[in-house]
């Protein structure tokens, strides 16, 4: 039996997303395909697979990512879906799942990768705000016309919506910083 679920998770909700996918797996719904907002499941043995979300360093088709995915495949980990550089991996739960040998180090790497991704996105958003503000200033200095009004409107719209998105990242940044510090503290005592 097949089932398609449409659901939205934001980038910073990756833990929630992973948890949800693993709960589905426990109920016997195996993830067979995933892309943005769309998850395809097939009924199977409950808890046969464990799902993990990972963020690749380079694009999916790059040499580095291909060699990484080949390596994973060799050890029984398959990629079942992708959304830009995010990949959905599954591994037989009986094989030990994805449990890393060094939890603190794993958390640190994972969080830093996500932080890098977020800060890149944030930089782009800030650039977009700056450009639309410039557009707005220039339009204000032009003779009033329908065209100038229209462009000003568009610029204001972009600047406002982008600002809201950018601000919504802040609580997330704070949380990731705390996670980084916690992982480093852990590394002081244990491998």
């Amino acid at each position: 039996m097949k089932k398609i679920v449409r659901k939205i998770f934001f980038v910073w909700e990756y833990e929630k997303e992973e948890q949800w996918l693993n709960e589905m797996s426990k109920e016997g719904w195996e993830l067979v395909k995933a892309s943005f907002r769309k998850y395809q499941f097939e009924s199977g043995i409950p808890n046969e697979y464990t799902i993990r979300l990972e963020l690749l360093d380079k694009s999916l088709n790059s040499k580095e990512s291909t060699s990484y995915l080949n390596f994973l495949k060799e050890t029984g980990i398959e990629m079942v879906g992708e959304c830009k550089q995010w990949i959905y991996l599954r591994c037989k739960t009986a094989d030990g799942g994805f449990e890393p040998n060094n939890r603190a180090l794993y958390n640190l790497t994972h969080v830093l990768k996500i932080q890098e991704f977020i800060s890149k996105t944030k930089n782009r958003l800030v650039a977009l705000i700056a450009i639309s503000m410039c557009g707005l200033l220039i339009m204000n200095h032009l003779e009033p016309s329908n065209f100038a009004d229209f462009i000003s409107g568009v610029c204001t719209g972009i600047a406002l919506s982008t600002s809201i998105v950018t601000l919504s990242f802040y609580p997330f940044s704070k949380r990731t910083n705390e996670k980084v510090k916690a992982a480093i503290n852990e590394l002081y005592t244990c491998e």
Partner: protein, 104 residues
């Protein structure tokens, strides 16, 4: 080269280096490690991949030439890698010796 930077190897790295005294591919390293540690240490694929790329950069291990680029690669320890293992072994012996002296 001696381990003059006072390095402490992780368990995963130590066992991987030991396993690579004979050529093995990634999955082989995982199996060999599990065997050597009597099932105690199961390397996760992510950990092993990270360890292998770092050790390649440090020239502790080398990838053996393979015919096809994308096929699974085999690795082997280098002379530098062997010296790192020896230094680590000496450090571990010191730990064990001192531990025994105090506790027993």
């Amino acid at each position: 080269m001696i381990n003059n930077e006072n390095k402490v190897l992780t368990e995963a790295v130590f066992y991987t280096l030991l396993a690579l005294y004979s050529p093995l591919h990634g999955y082989g390293i995982m199996q060999e490690t599990e065997k050597m540690s009597n099932g105690r240490l199961k390397l996760s694929a992510g950990t092993l991949y990270g360890a292998i790329s770092t050790m390649l950069d440090k020239h502790w291990i080398k990838a053996l030439p393979s015919e096809e680029e994308s096929r699974r690669k085999e690795y082997r320890i280098t002379e530098l890698g062997k010296s790192i293992v020896k230094a680590e072994l000496a450090r571990l012996e010191e730990l064990v010796e001192n531990g025994k002296k105090i506790i027993e």
